[in-house]
Each structure stands twice: as C-alpha cells, then as structure tokens.
Symmetry: C2
Subunit: 483 residues, 2 copies
C-alpha cells in the first residue's frame, strides 16, 4: 500500500469538495439568509485540511496507484467528504450531534435520501440546497468528478473509476478515463438542466425545480417539502419525475450513445429490457392489487403505482403517497424492488438489474446441468459470453450484500427496532433508497433511531454506494501491507 499516494489523492478530493461548499454559501447570500458564514467557514476548514494533507503527503512517486490504492482512495475519499460535509449542518445549527450530521451528509452523498431532520420546511434555502447538492455530487461520483477536474488524479484514474462506478462491467466510453468522466458528467448535467426546466414550466419554483432535479437524476430522494412530492400534488410533476427517475436508472453509456444517434446498443441491451420489463410488471401487479383492495381511481392508481415502483427500483425514494398502508402484495413487491435497483452504470443503488440477469441465467444453466450433466453452456449477455470470473464475482457480490443486510438487520433488531422497521431501515440505507417500512416508512424519518444505529446505517449507505467490494476490501488481511 502506497499510503502517501492515498493521502495525497484523498486530500485533493477534499480540496475539491471544500471548494464546492461555496455554492450553498452563494445560495445563502442570494436568499439573504444568515447561514452563509457557516458554509464559508466549513469550506475554509475543509479546503485547509485538504491543502495540508496534500502538502504533508507529497508522494515521491505519483505513478504507484494500483488496485489497492484505488480502493483505499475511493473509500477514504467518500468517508472524508461525509465527515467534512457534516460541518455546515452543525455550524448552521440544523443538527446538533455528529451522528445526525454525518448520517444526513452520508445520506446525501450516497444518494440515499434518508433524513433525520424533523421539519425540512423549517430549514434555510442554503441547507436544503446543500442536501440536494450532496445528492448530485454523489450520484455521478465525487471521485469521477475529481478525475474530470484534476489532472493529478488521472494516473491511476482507471482504478478509481472502477472502484466508484456502479456495476460489474463498467464500459469505457473513451480510451482515456478522463474523457469518459467528462462525457458522463456532461450527460448528467444535461439531464439535470432538462428536468429543472420542465419542473419550472409545470409550476415549481426555480429553487424547488433545481433541487428536485438534483435529487432525481442522482436517484437521491431529498425533497424540500416534508411530504416529499405529495406537497405539490400535481400529476404533471409526478409524471416528469417518474420519467427522469426511470432515465437516471439506465446505464449512462446508453444515454451517451443515444445522444450521438447510435440506437443499436440500446435495442440490443439485455439489461435495459429486463429493467423495463420488471418496472412494467411491477406497475401492473401493484395497480391490480390497489384496484382490488383500495379506493383510488384508475388514474390515481396508475399515477401512484408507477411513481412508487420507479422511485423504489431506481432507489430514489421520493414519495407521492404513504405506500406503507398499501395491501401486503404491493408492499412485498416494493420491498423486492428495493433489492433489485436500477441498471449498472446508472446512478441507482442496490444489487442492479445486470446482476439479477447474471444470477437468473446462472441458475437456469445449473438447473439444466442437473438434467444434462454433460452439456455445458456459457452464460450470454448482450450476445457476448460472460466470463466465469465475472459471474463468480457477481454471485459473491449478492452473497456479501445479503450478509451485510442480515448482520445489520440483526444489529438494528438488537437496538430495539421491530423486525419490519429493522429490515426496512437496512434495506433502505444499504440500497441507497431512503424511506423504508415501519418506523422509517415514507411518513416517518430516521430521527428516532438510536445514535449507534445511525452510525451503522451510515456505514450501510457507504457499503451500498461503493458496491460492497470497495468498502469490505479494506478489511481483507494484508490490504494495508506495503507492496
């Protein structure tokens, strides 16, 4: 492990992050609110810490960023941002304990959208902007952003890119990793601007439009209203958000190719087909269940079922209604969607559709092998054979994901949460969704969870956002050993 390089790179990310805190300070001044000083001070502390780190570590040999260094930089970079990003919440007086402030920041950065704030509407514009801005930075990835902005991180960039971008098979759009990072951020900004304009046109204020667009394209879920999108109660807004959540759950390389007029990969993409198929099937089943067991009109049934299905499968977590009182089948489907997640290479969390695809194909292959032991077939995705190492890694990913889920659920139960709340809180944070079931359901928040539980759930968010391997690798024996 080249510790100097790691500290140096993490420090650079912290400097970038400190500079980004000037944005909410500007918002504060723009709205004439008093907490600009809190943001300016946080920015100064963060940037100073980052600069100190860069100066003290000064690696002798910049080129020695290997696999392990990439993993360490990503995990520690995110952890550092979650810690420094908590400063404004405390300095501005929004949250009083470190557990609360770090939970809220980690929830923002990891695009979870779970909140401990009792009254969102009582917060200043700057705080609300900061929460949504954290989503937006974490959605495409603060490390990827740093790669795009800082030349110093380019060496070893492909290691960092792999550690941060979701999905088992990250596509490179361009031979140079920095170009890929720039392209991805370009599409991301385009989607954000398009949605902001649409939301503004259909009745939101510009501030609400922009913050909700941040929360949508990052599949985050923080809202500026206590009742989330239910506060606007506008079918048009619900539909816009549904469409953009769906888009944000698609592999961004497909967006890029579509923008360049290349639609062939989209038509061929197995993951996209499965994703769309699951969404449609879930909407159909939940709609039938709601029509049979509740009193919504057909229009409202379709509106709320499609919104909640897309919101939970993309792990966004916006709500238009309290789905926790829906009939058992609908709730069971939503709980399963929380584990599936969006497509690899999107901003969505959880297990990801491509992995579900590999799992399904692997199981069917093995079932066939039990019948015909001598016929061995290869698993194919998008017409290409999936190497055995990849499917092996995918299977292990799912087991590790479920292991973290089970152990954390046990720990949350031990803190006194009832079983449904324990399951819901871990599923919702590990999958970077936000609202869960029970105590942490759509109408409640995480403020009632004990402090130690907030730290554990913050860890779950990080494990989920960095796709398990990146964080758990740090605990592999010998990881920190010198090369």
């Amino acid at each position: 492990m080249n510790i100097r390089s790691v500290i140096s790179s993490v420090s650079r990310i912290v400097v970038v992050f400190g500079a980004l805190m000037l944005a909410p300070a500007a918002i504060s001044l723009m709205f004439g609110e008093g907490d600009w000083a809190a943001f300016l001070l946080s920015s100064a502390i963060t940037a100073a810490a980052g600069v100190t780190g860069v100066l003290l570590s000064a690696p002798k040999d910049n080129r020695r960023i290997g696999n392990r260094e990439g993993i360490a930089i990503t995990t520690l970079g995110w952890t550092a941002c979650a810690l420094f990003g908590a400063l404004p919440f405390i300095l501005a007086g929004s949250l009083s304990t470190p557990a609360d402030a770090v939970f809220e920041t980690m929830s923002g950065l990891t695009t979870t959208g779970a909140t401990v704030l009792m009254d969102v509407e009582a917060q200043s514009h700057a705080i609300l902007f900061w929460r949504s801005f954290l989503h937006w930075l974490g959605g495409m990835g603060i490390v990827v952003l740093s790669i795009a902005l800082l030349p110093g991180l380019q060496i070893g960039g492909s290691q960092l890119f792999r550690a941060e971008v979701p999905g088992p098979l990250p596509d490179r759009l361009e031979p140079r990793i920095r170009e890929t990072a720039k392209r991805l951020w370009g599409i991301y900004i385009l989607l954000t601007v398009a949605q902001t304009v649409l939301l503004r046109v259909f009745g939101m204020s510009l501030f609400d439009a922009a913050t909700h667009a941040f929360g949508t394209v990052a599949t985050g879920g923080f809202s500026t209203a206590n009742k989330s999108l239910e506060a606007w109660n506008s079918p048009a807004i619900d539909m816009i958000v549904t469409v953009f959540m769906f888009l944000a759950g698609i592999n961004f390389t497909l967006h890029y190719r579509a923008l360049r007029g290349n639609f062939k990969p989209i038509q061929k993409d197995d993951e996209l087909k499965t994703y769309a198929g699951i969404v449609l099937a879930a909407i159909a089943l939940i709609s039938l269940d709601l029509l049979a067991h509740s009193r919504y009109s057909l229009g409202n049934t379709l509106r709320h079922s499609s919104f909640q299905v897309v919101s939970l499968i993309t792990t966004t977590g916006f709500t238009t209604i309290n789905y926790d009182i829906w009939p058992p089948l609908s709730r069971a489907i939503l709980l399963i969607l929380m584990f599936i997640g969006g497509c690899g290479g999107s901003t969505a969390g959880a297990i990801k559709v491509v992995r579900v695809n590999v799992l399904a194909k692997h199981s069917i292959r093995e079932l066939k092998r039990a019948v015909y032991p001598r016929r061995v077939t290869v698993i194919r995705l998008n017409g290409k054979a999936v190497p055995e190492e990849v499917s092996s890694a995918v299977l292990a990913f799912v087991i590790l994901y479920l292991s973290v889920f089970l152990l954390s659920t046990l720990a949350m139960s031990a803190m006194g949460l009832d079983l449904m709340s324990a399951v819901g809180s871990v599923a919702a944070t590990l999958g970077n969704i936000g609202p869960g079931f029970g105590l942490v359901g759509p109408t409640c928040n995480y403020s009632a969870v004990p402090a130690i539980g907030k730290w554990l759930l913050s860890f779950c968010m990080l494990v989920g956002r960095l796709e398990v391997y990146t964080v758990l690798s740090l605990f592999v024996p010998g990881f920190w050993r010198k090369p």
Copy 2:
C-alpha cells in the same frame, strides 16, 4: 425419458407405501378405535393402484434408468405418496377437503410438521400415529427405503439416491447403493429406539414417546398435543428432544462412522463445526436478548432458547413456548436459522450448513480476488478442494431456493396474508420446519390459509424436501423428451 420405467418404479414405491398403511390400522385395532377400516381401505386402494401400475407399465428394458428417470421417479413417487397418504384423513373423517388432507400428508412426509388440524388431541391414536409415521418414512426417504427393500429398484438406485438424499455431496458408505441405504436406515432406527426409551423413562406414555421420537429423528415436528412439547412442561423431556434434534441434524454418515469407532472424520468435519458454532452462537445471543427483555429465569431462558434454536435450525418445529412474542433480535435470529437448516446428509431441511460454508468461502475468496486479482485460490472443505462445478451448483441452489421463496411469498401476499405471515408460512414450509411467524406462528395452525394457498405451500414443502433441483428439473425444456 423412459416413461415406462418411471411408471413402473413409482408404482412399486406406491405398493410399499400401501403396505406401510397397515401399521396405523394395527394401532387402531390395538387401541380399540373404529377407524381401522379407513386405514385398511386406504391400504387396499393404494396397493391395488400400485400393482395395477406395475402390471400395466412392465418396462421392456429395466436398465434404462438414467439421470432424468431418477429425478422423475423421485418427484412423482413423493407426489403419489402424498396423494394416497391423504386417503386415511378423508376416509376417517379427520379432514374433509383434498387441499387439507394433501397438505397434512405432504407436511408429514416432507418432515415439515405444519398442521391444518384444529384440535390434534381430538384425533384417534391411529391418525396421530399415521402423521408421525409419515414423518419417519419421509425423514430418511421413502425412495431410499424402497431401494433397501425392493431388489427391482436397485438398478438406477444411485440416481434415485442422489435425487432424494439432502446435501450437495452425498457420501456413499458402501460401494453398493443398497447396502448404504440399509446402513442409513439402521442408524435411523437405532436413534428412534434410543429416544423412545429415554422419553418413556422420563414420563411420556409409550405411544407419545414413539410418535415424538419419529418426529424428532425425522426433524418433523408433529406432536400428539395441541401445545406441542409445552404440554408436558418437563425440562428433562425438553433436553432429550433438544439433544436428539441436534443429532438428527448431523450428517448420518458421521453417525455411522462414530458407531464403528471411527471418530477422525467427525473431528475434521468443517460442516459439523460450523453447525455447532451457529447453534451455540444463536443460543448465546437469544439468551442474552431474553435476559435483557423478558422475565424468564436463567434456567428457563437457557432451556427455551436452546430448544427453539435447535428446533428451528434442524427444521423440526417442535415448540416449548410461543417464540413469536420474543423480542425482535431473537425473532430475527430464529428467522435466519429457518433458512440455514441442518447438515447435508441429515434429515433436516432448508439450505444446509455445508452450502452456507461454501457460500461464505466463495465470497471471501472473491473479496480477496478483488484486492489481489492475480492470486487465485481454491475453496477447501474438510481439507479437500471443492470443484468449481460444485460451488457453482451450490450458488445456483441458493438463488433458486430464494427465488421460490420470493415468488411464493408474493403469491401468499396476493391471497391476503399480511407480510410477516406470508414470509413466515413460505419460509416454514419451504424449509420443512412447520410453525412460522404471525398467522402461522407457534400457537396457530395453517387451517386459516385459503385452499389455493395450501396447495402452493404443499408444493413448497416438496420443493424444499427434494432440494429444489429435483422438482424444478421437471420443468426444464426437453426433460420429458424421449432419449
């Protein structure tokens, strides 16, 4: 597919099964009860159907029992036994609908122990004996029994053996499969007799002692009392049952070797170590949880926690207490145990400890590979390398198991069960446990489940008992095609 051979073999199993129905008829006569005629008639119908099948199918070539035939014989043999075994319940007037009678029989045969009877204590001795006797036959396996008894089934016996005996790596004790089958049944009978004697000595009637011994060594769970073992309220009996449930959850080949004085394989067995470790850890955690949150004495805490832990991990399902009112951590642990199950090659159901071992080792291997991509290590169990095909099959097993679990839970939710009851009922039947949580918790029974739900849960029991592959293989395209 050699259909004639399949029908012929299934018919022979049915004949054996019909003959076994004479045992409860004898019990009925012994206790001077009136339902001996129902059992005699059922036996005659079953045997006649079997003999007709044998005569009509008369295969030209007895030797053509391959892999597919073995799978078909096992699945269809079990299904036939579950249907014919339901006759006495209907003819004796204990249960009125086919859904109820088949559910009860399947629950017996698959050693599940879930009941639809409202009042067990109102049943005749013959019916109670039949339920426990079904456990006992299904525990070691009706097909294995037939192999031991009938020379005609010996050809192709190894295929049948593999399809019925639980666990991914069935050990053969003897080169000839029929000898292995006999040895396994020998140990099984020895355990049953030993436990019967002990229970009799510590205060049970001989009838209760024998039926509970059947239910224990088969890890079944049917009791002769409505309140299960709580009715006796005897610490000695609880301890005897706990020990024998634990023994029944161990690979029977280890019992065999121990009886022959060979203790080396036992000391070396990774699965046994993990099994014992999980049991001890679960007892410790639940005891601490109960001491902190409920008012049991230390003695009762240890007694009930060890009994319920062993009862649920071995998928027996006897109860000494209503664990559904225990605090959340204890309930969460019990729910997880319901998925783990006992050791491969035991009578226990669910996923099995050896598979959990393989999953854990595979995940850790892949995690290490993420850190050191160039180092590839082999998974080892009991000092031997586990072939990649085996771990591939184990991973697929778990995914198929969870898929059946999820889809069945959705279906049960659609029938109006609340989420916890839906999860509990499927986990308890698929894992061959018996009592679940909620509506189907330890103090309730399955009579309130709608008829279609009973059929689905009966299917889950069969899928669980025959370890997923054997049943699902029948739906693989081309399975029924002629060779």
